[in-house]
């Protein structure tokens, strides 16, 4: 018996070869009908034998195209038959629905094979892609995802490509960015003056680029979500020059390696790490060096961030070259977002890059490289961006209208629609207006692509975060109240959401600084609560920050502050005499010395004392320096008590870790010439025990424990605290889907907003 049914499918179903896949599947089961993209997903009709129809829907989920993801299927049987003879793909419909957009995906194996096959018509063509790979989010201007709505619009397909595009059995059937040397974009190479070097068959733009790299020069390379600065990683002079020109003396640089073998030549690679490294998202993966002193000019830490080529351009840079490792660092003006525009990069990088490998396809949506490590039983995101954004966070709740605006320094937002929270890619520090502009335009893009209408608006409690101002404006425009979320409650909720917890939890939130509900600065917190409520039960002794945020840039001041508080001789602080006296005067007079119960600042202070570090050159240098000292070590958790004292005192109902005995013990070790790597290890082990003692004292009911905050990017602490608590039969949850830093905060804010407003929402 024949039947006709209509269907709608939601999920990542556009731009991933989904309709061709339906076509092939329909043909396989001799079904007629049609399908088309809508702004809400894909819809269509099928007609055929009842059995074949059920076979079709049974087979559907198990043989999806690699990038597709189905969230929901709805089917309805229709009254009459239409007598469809075949299956057609119809033009897109624009309604008020919305659809998921695939993140950008690394060149697939098939495309890579064609790219390097001299017989293929796309041999060495740097824009090769197919339905299974290539740019997506970064080229989309508006929905639906059709070529005319992308930055491929100026490149009409040639007849050959058009034939592939229309051929259901072709891997490029309905691949929107499909193109070839005859019809697609082209790369070109410019010298430092912006003059185009002539291209020829023997001397094409990519050969110029390779030659420049081989000569130790720095080139700018336009990739998929932004422009990189590249140089030969094994050429110390080139690296030194890049560091000097970029004003980046010490911060580790990311590498791109020709292959996993090249990665293995410098780093250890576990099977899990290899999976991350070679996944189609192709993030930068932080890997442990094979030997600690390898490439110290690339990274002073025990680890190096490495990625594999993810666009044909990158692949070709290595092709036929004996360079296997390139530095690939985002090209930007200090503190500004990564460059995406040809002209702007020529202008901005004129004194930095010796050459420019650019192309004539616009990057519509900027998307920085993602950074991830394989941490405690899963990936830990430092930065969730290219290859992941704009794939949403899914939870079976109604997030429609929820807009959470995140924090300031690692700004990122989360906008809700249906069961999805769309998390922005990495945006950066909103202190700079260029970054603010990027944030606001990305928010606008998300609003349009996912048809977001703000109804419930959440932001951080800090009144001076730029993101708070943006949220205030949005709330005013929407005529809705603003939900201000305490910073560490936000972190706690983010980790709960990340792990699907919806119950009372105990939270250990260690970060830099965030505004507390008592208007003091927090950052070493022990909380209990859920999505609605939060109570601070433990913390650490507040650290006076002479000069406020200035102390975070000159961490010697924090070192001094620790000594001063511990009643020790302040001569020991790594500051010049005059500065030392001046900072001491600030402390003596309680002048410009906000107090912060911050774990990040404790690390800063210890880094200052242990590494004689004062002026830091990048955010997080202090904590990273301490962690680097202990690199390659695992925490020793076999003892009953910590190597340094972990004492506590009660302060208005908050159990505080007294840092003074710890500081005294550390200073005593330094004075007795104990090796600094041993001290760093003992310091961090003590913190692990401190976390355990606090948890035992403050979490007697053994509530699940969530760990969040940027300090938990520290591998040693993350594994130490997790293991120690687990050993004492606490159930511990850490981040795997969003970053534990402020970048992940918007997710927590969104959940808190949802729960806070849920009573009012039901009435509506």
């Amino acid at each position: 018996m024949k039947k006709r049914i209509s269907f709608t499918i939601e999920g990542v179903v556009q731009g991933v070869g989904f309709r061709p896949f339906l076509h092939r599947l329909a043909r396989r089961f001799s079904l007629g009908g049609w399908a088309k993209n809508t702004s809400g997903g894909v819809c269509g009709e099928l007609e055929g034998k009842a059995d074949d129809l059920s076979f079709f829907f049974e087979a559907l989920p198990s043989c999806l195209p690699p990038l597709a993801r189905i969230e929901n299927i709805e089917k309805k049987e229709l009254q009459s038959l239409e007598g469809y003879s075949d299956f057609k793909i119809l033009d897109s419909d624009v309604g008020d629905g919305f659809t998921l957009i695939s993140p950008d995906m690394a060149t697939c194996m098939d495309c890579e094979r064609e790219l390097l096959n001299p017989a293929d018509r796309r041999y060495l063509y740097p824009f090769i892609n197919c339905t299974n790979c290539g740019p997506r989010f970064t080229i989309i201007r508006r929905m639906p995802y059709d070529r005319k709505n992308t930055s491929m619009a100026p490149f009409p397909m040639c007849p050959v490509c058009a034939r592939e595009y229309g051929d259901i059995d072709n891997r490029r059937y309905h691949a929107q960015p499909d193109c070839c040397p005859d019809c697609g974009p082209e790369v070109f190479f410019l010298d430092s003056q912006g003059n185009r070097l002539p291209g020829s068959a023997l001397d094409d733009p990519i050969s110029h680029a390779r030659r420049y790299l081989a000569q130790g020069k720095i080139i700018a390379v336009k990739g998929i979500g932004g422009i990189h600065l590249a140089c030969n990683a094994l050429d110390p002079q080139a690296v030194a020059r890049l560091r000097q020109k970029k004003g980046r003396p010490r911060k580790p640089l990311a590498l791109m390696a020709a292959s996993t073998e090249a990665v293995r030549s410098i780093c250890r690679l576990s099977p899990e790490e290899e999976l991350l490294l070679t996944s189609e998202s192709r993030p930068i993966v932080l890997l442990e060096k094979r030997v600690p002193d390898i490439l110290p000019n690339i990274s002073f830490c025990g680890s190096i961030g490495v990625m594999l080529p993810y666009t044909p351009v990158h692949r070709l840079l290595f092709h036929g070259s004996n360079m296997k490792l390139l530095v690939m660092t985002s090209a930007n003006r200090s503190g500004c977002p990564v460059l995406t525009d040809n002209d702007e990069s020529l202008h901005t990088l004129s004194g930095v890059a010796d050459g420019f490998l650019l192309n004539n396809r616009d990057i519509v949506n900027r998307c920085d490289d993602s950074v991830v490590m394989y941490g405690h039983k899963g990936p830990v995101f430092f930065r969730r961006s290219r290859g992941y954004a704009p794939a949403p966070f899914y939870s079976p709740k109604d997030f429609t209208g929820i807009c959470a605006f995140g924090a300031e320094q690692k700004a990122a937002f989360a906008f809700g629609r249906g069961p999805y929270l769309f998390l922005s890619p990495h945006i950066g520090d909103l202190k700079n207006m260029e970054t603010m502009d990027h944030y606001e335009s990305m928010a606008k893009t998300y609003n349009e692509l996912f048809k977001i209408h703000p109804e419930i608006i959440a932001c951080d409690l800090h009144p001076d975060y730029a993101s708070t101002h943006i949220a205030e404006k949005a709330a005013k425009e929407a005529g809705r109240p603003l939900i201000r979320v305490q910073h560490h409650h936000g972190h706690m909720a983010a980790c709960m959401a990340d792990n699907g917890l919806d119950e009372e939890v105990f939270a250990i939130i260690w970060d830099g600084t965030g505004l507390g509900s008592d208007r003091e600065i927090w950052g070493g917190e022990f909380l209990t609560g859920d999505f609605k409520n939060c109570k601070r039960v433990g913390s650490i002794r507040p650290i006076a920050l002479p000069g406020g945020d200035k102390a975070t840039e000159e961490i010697g001041r924090i070192g001094l502050s620790l000594l001063w508080d511990a009643g020790l001789d302040t001569d020991f602080a790594p500051l010049f005499v005059k500065k030392r006296q001046a900072v001491t005067a600030l402390l003596d007079h309680h002048l410009s010395c906000p107090a912060a119960s911050s774990m990040g600042r404790l690390f800063d202070g210890v880094a200052a004392l242990l590494c004689s570090l004062n002026g830091i050159t990048f955010d997080g240098e202090g904590p990273m320096s301490v962690e680097a000292l202990a690199s390659g070590c695992m925490p020793d958790l076999s003892k009953d008590c910590p190597p340094y004292p972990a004492l506590f005192y009660s302060d208005a109902g908050v159990r505080r870790f007294d840092i003074r005995p710890l500081v005294r013990a550390i200073v005593s070790d330094i004075k007795h010439k104990v090796k600094s790597d041993a001290i760093a290890k003992k310091f961090m082990e003590t913190l692990c025990y401190m976390a355990l003692f606090q948890t035992q004292a403050l979490n007697p009911r053994h509530l699940p424990v969530v760990l969040s905050g940027g300090v938990f990017l520290n591998r040693f602490l993350l594994s130490g605290v997790t293991e120690l608590l687990a050993r004492h039969s606490f159930k511990v949850y850490t981040h795997h889907k969003v970053s534990p830093t402020d970048e992940g905060l918007a997710l927590g804010q969104a959940f808190i907003a949802l729960y806070t407003s849920s009573t009012t929402r039901k009435e509506v």
Partner: protein
């Protein structure tokens, strides 16, 4: 007269009279005040400018000034910034029991001196004394009246293209008071408050060109005042960091304290928004006057980001200078 202020000086009795007759009247000697009435009857048949301000600075004495000078400058400058010529001041003290008479004399002498410079008369006043521990030594309130000379000043006159002028280096007052508090400053160092009367500079600027608005950037510094110029308007202030005069001593004090000089109080600086064509003539007029030597055009009015203040930094970036909610709270996470 005693060596210290006692609660009696605020009682209204003999000691109060003693204080007024022997300390205040001789210092500010003028006809309306000498009558010692509750309110002063003032000459004039013109539109007036009236302003008041209270002063609670601690320590009361700081390099470059003291609370006495400040309380005259503050109110006089407010009148001058409103387009008036300041004429009369009231003066009220709230003293803490135990405050040194010697110090009070020094303050009063400064008030007299500054009033003379400002060509204003102190025509009415009041003194109260609070118990020891209930005040911070000394609080002063002054109110002032001036004759309105320029009724065409205000935010509503600002236009795109206008220049933003500051009459001298910024942040000196706030930085020196903070440093004085740390005990790190002696009076002889180069870091001093900019506390001074602005009437002459204000008059000169208005005579030299079309001035849209004048303000003395006291609390919150130039960043806060410039925000007030454009908030809720379609206009933007765009500043060039390199053009903003900041004394090296102020820069290093701010660096130590973790403060931004653009948010530090000035007590003798004037911000003027001036029609584009008149920027050179106004600058020229200011440069001729003492206290205006370092006057500079620090930015322009545009429409790039309505209601906001943009700083083009010396590094080539741009930063939004928002209004702060209060103290500068740490933000680095």
């Amino acid at each position: 007269m005693d060596d210290i202020i006692t609660l009696d000086y605020g009682s209204g009795g003999i000691k109060t009279s003693d204080f007024i007759d022997n300390l205040l009247v001789p210092a500010f000697d003028n006809t309306p005040l000498n009558k010692l009435a509750d309110g002063a009857v003032l000459d004039g048949a013109e539109r007036l400018v009236f302003s008041t301000d209270s002063f609670v600075v601690s320590p009361w004495k700081f390099p470059g000034g003291n609370i006495g000078r400040l309380c005259v400058c503050g109110t006089v400058n407010d009148i001058a910034m409103a387009g008036g010529i300041p004429k009369y001041l009231s003066l009220s003290f709230i003293l803490e029991e135990g405050f040194k008479m010697w110090d009070l004399k020094e303050i009063i002498a400064s008030i007299a001196d500054e009033a003379k410079k400002a060509q204003v008369m102190i025509v009415t006043g009041d003194t109260k004394v609070v118990e020891h521990g209930k005040g911070d030594g000394i609080y002063i309130n002054t109110s002032g009246i001036g004759i309105l000379k320029n009724p065409r000043l205000g935010k509503e006159y600002i236009r795109p293209g206008d220049g933003v002028i500051v009459s001298g280096s910024v942040g000196c007052h706030g930085a020196s008071v903070m440093m004085a508090r740390s005990g790190l400053l002696d009076g002889d160092g180069p870091l001093r408050s900019d506390c001074r009367i602005l009437t002459d500079l204000a008059v000169a600027a208005q005579d030299a060109g079309n001035v849209r608005i004048l303000r003395d950037p006291t609390r919150g510094g130039i960043a806060t005042v410039l925000n007030e110029f454009v908030e809720d308007s379609p206009l933007t202030v765009e500043l060039n960091e390199t053009a903003i005069p900041v004394d090296a001593t102020v820069a290093s004090a701010c660096d130590l304290l973790g403060l931004d000089p653009l948010y530090c109080a000035c007590e003798g600086r004037m911000l003027a928004v001036v029609a584009p064509e008149d920027v050179p003539s106004v600058l020229d007029a200011l440069h001729r006057l003492s206290g205006g030597e370092k006057a500079a055009c620090i930015g322009t009015i545009t429409q790039k980001r309505p209601g906001q203040v943009i700083l083009n930094t010396s590094l080539g970036g741009r930063r939004l200078l928002g209004k702060l909610s209060g103290h500068q709270l740490p933000r680095i996470c």
